[in-house]
Amino acid sequence: MSYDLQVPNELKRTQQWFGSIIGRPIDEDSRMDHISPSGESMEIEAAKYIAPSPALRPAQRIQIYNQQYWWRLLGILQEGFPFLTRLMGFYDFNRHLGIPYLVKYPPNHWSLFHLGARLPQWVKEEYHAKNREMILHGAEIDWVFNLSFVVEQLPPLTSELIATPENLEKILENRIYAQKHIELFQLPGDLFQLRDTLLQHPPEHWQNHPSPPCEKSEKNLYFIVYRNLRNEISWKEISAGEYHLLMLLKKGTTIDEACEWLEEQQSTLCDEVEQHLIEWFQDWTMRGWLSIHG
């Protein structure tokens, strides 16, 4: 059976026009552009499609939808990127990030969870202000908190499954994966602590109070974002060895492949992994971070 139905031409024409109007950014006073995409005055063009109400002209009526579109989507982005919103403030977030991002990457998925999916990519491509590095890290961190909230949980490796040496040997012949909700970061400073501190207050607080400092570390710091056993999103600082091993597990690795990789590493990293591998493996198993299902 075919589900392709013929769209009435008049309907399609009206919808295309409507979409072309409401998708255009509103100005700083939340007003619709008074010139239509065709170059005509919106007062004249809107009246061709829309009837006046007892109190509003046609252009005023479609302006409501134009405003609602931008207010809604910007609100959702602000909620989804709370670190960025506090780093920049509402106004700068909207003007320098949210609006240009949504113009380049308007929503095209039925789920609003995806709205900010391309914001880190947009920052990389299009954002060139002095604070670019901080904003890029902020976008990546915020996005990962969104993603980790909803991704699938693979059946975890449990301590029962590796209780006996025979079981453990069998498991270790398999490729082992880190859970999809795990994301790893290598950062020049403790941006996660900064994020936590900023999130203690609403964005407007930081317009009137100085942000806490975030010192650049001498060496890179490593962090993991994960979903805990209560399905809450958490983070913690990890060592270089944990970071690199978990990066392998993100792609999936057998123990043999992991050992081969280890042999190619610098001796400090090699020593760290060898010293802590069992303890890490036990910890990650207890946390449900590992799976043999990729």
């Binding site: 829309i50 009837a51 109400s53 609602q68 991704v151 909700h181 399905n231």
Partner: protein
């Protein structure tokens, strides 16, 4: 004679929308609320806390699914990836029906995440009715369309909204999810009497009623779901409810939240208006 509505549509009583700010209170108190409505899209995810919460709620309460992104009047083909996931969710929730809105919201390559109004024409009736029939057939559950709050009317409109709405549900043989706050909001925005609306729709197709608050800006009224239900809307509810012979009632509150108890008490006011209608 068995009417459309009486055919296996339960009256679940009075419910409220399941919302994050209320989770803690609900799980701590397990209040004797009749049912919850969920926004389907919030639970059409792969994993995580959302689904945890849903499973815990389902242990104690009936749940009904209400969607916001089907956008049935859109010009692109029906999204069967979306419908497949929607249907999969119905197997988890055991919802007795599924509803969404009589609107459009997508163009090829774009999703506006809004409930955009349709022109009220015979062509659009035929188009939307056929798609609604396909959706109900696919979901294998009663499917209802909700009337919008709208802020525009089109020059090409051939009929009033109530005639358009009634014609679609009859032609598609589906149901109405009647939002009485939206009747009021649209009556203010378009200058008609609410009674004109509910005097002229097939009440036997109503399977659920929505109540909500709104924001009044005088020149227009906005459907904001962030306030108590006003007297005028309660009045409409009191007149509509008896005409349905009793259907499930839901209070929507989606912003500027008050406590769970306050929300629930507001919803329970519906009993007073149901009783009034019996007297």
């Amino acid at each position: 004679m068995e009417t459309k509505q009486s055919a296996s549509i339960p009256n679940l009583g009075i419910g409220i929308g399941l919302r994050v700010p209320h989770y803690e209170d609900i799980f701590r108190e397990l209040p004797p609320i009749d049912w919850f409505e969920i926004i389907s899209e919030n639970f059409m995810v792969e994993g995580g806390k959302c689904l945890d919460v849903l499973y815990r709620i389902l242990e104690h309460y009936p749940v009904v699914q209400h969607g916001v992104t089907l956008a049935i009047g859109s010009p692109d083909p029906l999204d069967f990836d979306y419908l497949k996931r929607l249907k999969a969710l119905t197997k988890i929730t055991k919802t007795p029906w599924v509803s969404d809105h009589l609107c459009w919201g997508r163009l090829p390559g774009a999703h506006y995440h809004d409930l955009l109004p349709l022109p009220y024409t015979k062509e659009v009736i035929n188009y939307v009715a056929e798609r609604a029939r396909i959706v109900q057939d696919y979901l294998e559950l009663p499917f209802a369309l909700e009337n919008l709050s709208s802020y525009v009317a089109f020059q090409k409109d051939e009929m009033p909204e109530w005639e358009f709405y009634g014609a679609i549900v009859e032609k598609a043989d589906i149901y109405m999810m009647l939002d009485v706050n939206n009747i009021y909001v649209s009556s203010r925005n378009h200058g008609f009497e609410p009674r004109q609306y509910y005097d002229n729709i097939p009440m036997d197709r109503v399977l659920q009623i929505h109540l909500a608050g709104h924001s009044d800006y005088e020149a227009y009224v906005l459907d904001t779901h962030d306030n108590y239900v006003c007297d005028e809307v309660w009045k409409i509810y009191g007149e509509v409810y008896p005409r349905t012979n009793g259907v499930s009632t839901l209070l929507e509150w989606d912003d500027n939240y008050v406590s769970f108890q306050q929300t629930w008490q507001e919803a329970l006011k519906a009993k007073k208006y149901q009783k009034k209608s019996v007297e």
